[in-house]
């Protein structure tokens, strides 16, 4: 049993390497993402998650195509997204694509839903940005139903009604892929995750941790409010961003030119200041271990830790070296430390096997229960 899953998430940006001035082609970047995913399995990580973007400089516009290819070339790796756009993708297509992927990957699939990082994407798919949150709510309500009911009658505001529709293939073993909801600022999404008893993921990069602590604390409280368990049993995922070398000075020296001009935060504060203000860690594997162990103190025991390792134009060779360090020196220690004093009633990271077992247990419990009088 994997109590906590460790893995990586990729934005899939095509960024010029500032130290060489070279920009990878889209083809190189797509192949690099695959190489990174395969490496993740090789070094013993649990999860690879890809972003979904529909504009340059990003390449991953078709996550299930990429994950299907990776599924065929891996054995154990859990395949996920960060994030799948619940606002602009038709929920019918999400239901089909991820159920298909789930069958092909023998259940090694979950997904993280989000609203994306750019407003202009809405009209590209015929949607209205002013409806961002209502779209996220209604589309997921439909997706949830499509995976749980064989025949669906449905009517909503944002798409044509469905009459007697069956989404195919049906989820593997009748168990829908586990869903995480990712948000960097909306309490409505934490509320949505809590309502359904789904997971909640805070990307935990680029911003101070206090911001994410508020969202996760809200999610945990509301998870309990909806009767899914105690706040401590809510299913939490966190991001993180690291760059490592054996000697921390080497890590800082090598990463600084990438940091200084990076998209999102470059041309601003110093590397040292950004490390103090956000969860970014640049240093030795031991520093990464120490910093990541703190997450548990800030956010409580959690189920999934994903690291951002391949952005800002870092060359593939460097990223693969980073994954070696992560898999060999960091994650084994984190697994051991995270298992210490972890309360027995905090759930392990959800997998197809654990969800299937829970489903069968619930079914047996119903069958074994003394027959209830009709109408009781």
């Amino acid at each position: 049993m994997t109590k906590v899953q460790f893995g990586i998430f990729s934005v899939g940006d095509v960024t010029t390497d500032p130290t060489t001035g070279r920009t990878p082609t889209e083809h190189e970047r797509i192949k690099a993402m695959v190489a990174i995913a395969l490496k993740a399995e090789e070094v013993g990580l649990d999860v690879f998650a890809t972003g979904e973007h529909h504009n340059p400089p990003f390449v991953p516009s078709s996550p299930t195509t990429m994950l299907g290819y990776i599924a065929a070339r891996t054995e154990r790796l859990q395949l996920s997204t960060a994030t799948t756009l619940i606002t602009t993708n038709d929920p019918v297509k999400i239901a089909e694509d991820f159920a298909m992927l789930q069958h092909l990957a023998d259940g090694r699939v979950d997904l993280m839903l989000g609203r994306g990082n750019t407003g202009p994407v809405y009209p590209w798919f015929g949607q209205d940005i002013r409806q961002g949150i209502p779209l996220a709510i209604e589309n997921y309500a439909l997706l949830h139903k499509l995976w749980r009911e064989d025949v669906v009658d449905w009517e909503g505001r944002f798409r044509t009604p469905l009459q007697g529709f069956t989404s195919t293939p049906r989820p593997l073993d009748g168990v829908p892929p586990f869903v995480w909801h990712g948000s960097i600022r909306s309490p409505e999404i934490a509320e949505q995750a809590a309502y359904y008893g789904d997971g909640f993921f805070a990307n935990n990069i680029f911003w101070p941790k206090e911001h994410f602590m508020r969202l996760i604390s809200l999610y945990r409280q509301r998870y309990a409010h909806y009767g899914h368990g105690t706040p401590e049993q809510a299913v939490v995922g966190l991001g993180g961003q690291v760059f490592m070398r054996k000697n921390s000075q080497d890590a800082v020296r090598e990463f600084r030119p990438y940091f200084d001009v990076a998209p999102v935060y470059g041309h601003g504060p110093s590397l040292e200041e950004f490390m103090a203000e956000t969860p970014l860690t640049v240093g030795s594997p031991q520093q990464v271990i120490d910093r990541t162990l703190e997450f548990r103190e800030f956010f409580g025991d959690y189920q999934r830790q994903l690291f951002l390792m391949d952005h800002a134009g870092l060359p593939l060779k460097t990223v693969l070296e980073q994954l070696d360090l992560l898999g060999e020196e960091v994650v084994p220690v984190l697994r051991k430390e995270f298992a210490k004093d972890r309360p027995a009633d905090v759930p392990d990271a959800p997998t197809h096997a654990s969800l299937l077992a829970a489903k069968n247990a619930a079914k047996n419990a119903v069958e074994d229960a003394p027959e209830a009088p009709v109408g009781a």
């Binding site: 949150i133 209502p134 709510i137 209604e138 309500a141 909503g156 505001r157 309490p187 409505e188 934490a190 509320e191 949505q192 809590a194 309502y195 680029f206 911003w207 101070p208 911001h211 508020r214 809200l218 509301r222 909806y226 999102v264 935060y265 470059g266 041309h267 601003g268 504060p269 200041e273 950004f274 103090a276 203000e277």
Partner: protein, 201 residues
């Protein structure tokens, strides 16, 4: 009561800071206030970084929280190119857009010539109106010549204008209802969010 004075002067010594201090003193004579002066010059790099990273760092966040929690605000800027300075505007851009809602504010500005005095009415007052602050009627402009001169046939002297504006701010502070306690994060229950979708056909 807490009074925060935000001043965007850049030189040392600064006539903008001087005006800010005169205003703060005048308010303190009329109402019991604890004064904190914020020099935006000291926060210039933090403010620029907040634009780049999308969040205020610890130092800037502490100042933003102090402004948000203040009972009243005095905001003073030099006039550059016919309006408030970029640094002054940038600071207020970093604040939450509800930080100044209902807050009594005294606006003031400095400049080399009295010809720029209406920048207060045409630039600062609309900015704070947008932020839903309660701006006192008298805005105080100090041109270089004001520091030496007295009143003329058309205007009160700087000292009288400072006193009038300070009295107006003090009156608002003294008669203001106590601020409501900070509410915890409100969340709309999910059933309501779903129901709202069904209702608006």
């Amino acid at each position: 009561m807490k009074l925060v004075v935000v001043t965007a002067g850049l030189t040392q010594p600064s006539s903008t800071r001087l005006l800010a201090d005169r205003l703060a003193e005048a308010v303190a004579q009329r109402a019991e206030v604890e004064v904190r002066v914020v020099e935006l010059r000291d926060l210039a790099v933090d403010i620029a970084n907040a634009f780049v990273t999308g969040f205020p760092n610890t130092r800037l966040r502490e100042v933003a929280e102090a402004v948000t929690a203040a009972d009243g605000l005095i905001a003073v800027t030099p006039i550059f190119s016919g309006s408030y300075s970029g640094l002054f505007k940038s600071f207020f851009d970093v604040l939450d857009n509800t930080a100044l809602t209902g807050k009594p504010v005294l606006i003031a500005a400095t400049g080399g010539t009295a010809r720029h005095s209406l920048a207060l009415e045409h630039a600062l007052r609309p900015l704070f109106a947008y932020l839903r602050a309660v701006v006192v009627p008298t805005a105080v402009y100090a041109a270089a010549e004001d520091w030496g001169g007295g009143r003329d046939a058309f205007t009160d002297g700087l000292g009288e204008r400072i006193g009038r504006a300070a009295q107006e701010l003090a009156d608002l502070l003294l008669h203001r209802a106590p601020r409501a306690e900070e509410t915890v994060e409100e969340v709309v229950p999910f059933e309501q969010q779903l129901a709202a979708l069904r209702r608006t056909e």
